[in-house]
Every structure is written in C-alpha cells, then in structure tokens.
Amino acid sequence: MSRDIKQAVRSYVEQNFLVGSETVIGDADSLLQLQIVDSTGFLELVNFIESNFGVKVGDDEMVPENLETIDNIDEFVRRKLAA
C-alpha cells in the first residue's frame, strides 16, 4: 500500500513537474525546498492526491508535516484512508 502511494506520487511529480529533467527525488526530499513545485504546482499536487486517493485535503491540513515530502504525503494519505 505504502509503496503504491509513494510510487503514484513520485510518477505524478516526475511526469508533471520534472519533464525532461534528470532530477531524482528521494522520499524525504522537500518538494518545496528543491523548487520542484511552486504555488500552482502545489494546488495541482493537492488535486492529484484528492482525486487519485479519494481523500479530501482540508485547508488546515496543508502543512509541511502532511505534504512536504513523498514520505509525508504517504503517511498523510494512509492516515486519511484509515480514518
């Protein structure tokens, strides 16, 4: 499950924000700090998480602990699905 979530997020990020780039992102890399996603990109990523995993991301849940890295997103999505 965890591997699926991480893989899905990674391919989404690679296909949408790293087109033509050879950047390899680690599970613990900050998507913001590495300037992989900007504000619009962040909104797109949240959209992807909501539609792909069937979870709703509340405004108050848009915090680094939930969405900063692929690891964070994985934990966040699993927590939401279990709730």
Partner: protein, 322 residues
C-alpha cells in the same frame, strides 16, 4: 513606518521625460504615445509624464472599461484625460470579451466550484497562506444576489481557467492600444511600477506588452509621490491600488502581493540593497523569520514569473537580432 530613501522628483521627472523623448523619437521612430488610462495611479502617472515629455498633442488616451470594471475607473480616467488636455476615446470592451468567451469561460470554471454561480453573483480571487507561509493558495470569494458570501479553495484547473479567461481583458485592451498606436504612428505605453515589473504581476502579451515603460524602475510609493509632484488630481493620487478585474472589489495585496504596497516596497528595496532580513524585520515590526519568508516569497515569484519577461526564444539564433 520607515519609508524609502527620498527621490528628487523634479530631477527624476526630467530624467524620465528626456528618456521618453529619446526612446519615442529616436529609438522607436514614433510620433507620440498611446496610454490606456484606467484611472489608477500608474497609468495616470505615465500619461502625465508622456504629456510633459512630448506635449499633450502627441499623447492619445484610451479608456477601456468592461463589465467588471468599477464605475469610478472611467470617471477617474476621463477626469485625468480632461485634466491633461489630451485627446482620448472611451470604448467599452465588454461586447468583445463576451464574443471571445471571456465571461462564459470564467463562469464555467466558477460554476464547477460554486454550482449556483450565475447572473447577479459577484466574485474575486484571494490568496491565502499554506504550508507555513511557503505556498499561496487561491480561493474564490463570491457574493450571491442575496448578499451571502461564499468562500472556496479553487482546484488548480479551475484557477488556471479563470486566470486564462480574465487575461483576455488585458490582451484585448492591448490589441486596441496597438490599433490606435498603428493608426497614429505612436508608441504603445506599458505602465507597470517596479513591484509589478519585478514580481511579474502582468499578463504576457497583455499589459506586459509595450514599446516603452516609463515607470518600471519606480517603487509604488515613489509613483504616488511622482503623481503628486506632477500635480495630478487628488482623486487620482488618493486611490487605493486594485486589480479592477473582478466583479467584487479586490485589493492587489489580496490577489498577488503578500503585503500592502508600502511594506512590499520596503521589502523589495531591502532585498535589492542586499540588506539582511533582520533589518527588514525591524522596519516592518515583525520577527526575522517572517521577514526572511517575505524575501523568499519575492524570490519565488521572480522564479515562477521569469518566463513572462522573456522574448520568444529562437531555436537557433539569427545573427544581427536578439
């Protein structure tokens, strides 16, 4: 609150006017300037500088309101044109925008987030912080015909569609500006101030397009001071900056900049002068981390809007052109 270092506005106006004469007559080989006048401080200041530089008979004013423009915009624009004594024309661009799908595309995207949105509703876009202030997310704030407020975060595709649709407004205006510029053999004026120019707050091939930009080097507070120096009417020099793009009144700092313009000016000036965040924090009365976040936001906007400044990129360079 602290302010920017004082400019000598007499000398600065002279310098700009000398440059405008040189650029328009010698570099561009045009006979005058077309200025679209929204009634806002930037276009008003540009129009006044153009008149001072070239004379009122070599400046043509355009008032281009549309469905969502505030009624005061045309009034202020007209007052300014009369004050400056320039020939001008008013053309409502709402029918053109309607025909090209600006309003229907905008409404279609809004209806996906707000199913009841339709006739009689008003709306604006507003940014709010996410991710500990490192990301700005856009919300739609709408008012239904009964006066009830609705606020909703916009999904990325809807946000992008609304922005793309409203960008028609700036692009149709620029089309008309160039129509008159071509007709008169004039140059087309771009009216960004330094905040807008630096932070990419313009529409590519819309208000970002121009032959000459007289005040792109002036911070917003300096534009206000210049406008007062040039003796523009109080009604113009006391305006609050708005986007004048959405049906609900919207301050520029709600939509794009994170701070009201006097603070944004200070922040940009401190960053440009390589002053440490601690110094900006002291000026703004905030802690150093908050000032550093403002610096980072400015840098982030520069990165994400860099392409707006770029001319078309040639796959293979052509000698003699750049």
């Amino acid at each position: 609150m602290a302010t920017l270092p004082q400019l000598d506005y007499t000398a600065e106006a002279d310098r700009i006017c000398e440059q405008l004469r040189h650029i328009v007559f010698d570099v561009l080989n045009r006979r005058g300037m077309v200025v679209a006048m929204s009634g806002g401080i930037d276009s008003s200041c540009c129009a006044a500088l153009a008149v001072r530089a070239l004379g009122k008979d070599r400046v043509f004013g355009l008032l281009l309101p549309e469905r969502d423009s505030s009624s005061s915009s045309s009034q202020l624009g007209t007052m300014l044109a009369e004050h400056l004594g320039v020939p001008y024309t008013l053309q409502n661009i709402a029918p053109t925008l309607d025909a090209i799908g600006c309003y229907s595309s905008q409404d279609e995207a809004l209806q996906r987030s707000l199913p009841g949105f339709g006739t009689g509703w008003k709306f604006k876009l507003a940014i709010s912080d996410a991710m500990g202030g490192r990301v700005s997310i856009t919300k739609v704030v709408a008012e239904d015909p009964q006066g009830n407020r609705h606020e909703k975060r916009l999904p990325a595709p809807d946000y992008l569609q609304i922005v793309a649709a409203t960008n028609f407004k700036q692009r149709i205006r620029k089309n008309l500006e160039y129509y008159h510029a071509d007709r008169l053999n004039y140059a087309c004026t771009g009216t960004p101030n330094r905040l807008e120019y630096d932070q990419g707050f313009f529409v590519k091939n819309g208000d970002g397009s121009a032959d000459v930009k007289p005040i792109a080097h002036l911070y917003k507070t300096q534009v206000y001071a210049m406008a007062r120096h040039l003796g523009l009417p109080e009604a113009v020099t006391s305006t609050t900056p708005t986007t004048d793009t959405f049906s609900l009144a919207q301050g520029q700092d709600e939509f794009y900049f994170k701070l009201p313009y006097p603070q944004m000016d200070l922040a940009l000036w401190h960053l440009n002068e390589n002053r440490p965040a601690s110094e900006l924090a002291a000026e703004l009365g905030c802690d150093e981390a908050a000032a550093a976040a403002v610096y980072e936001n400015i840098r982030a906007k520069r990165r994400t809007t860099a392409y707006l400044h770029l001319p078309p990129q040639l796959a293979v360079p052509v000698p003699g052109f750049h």
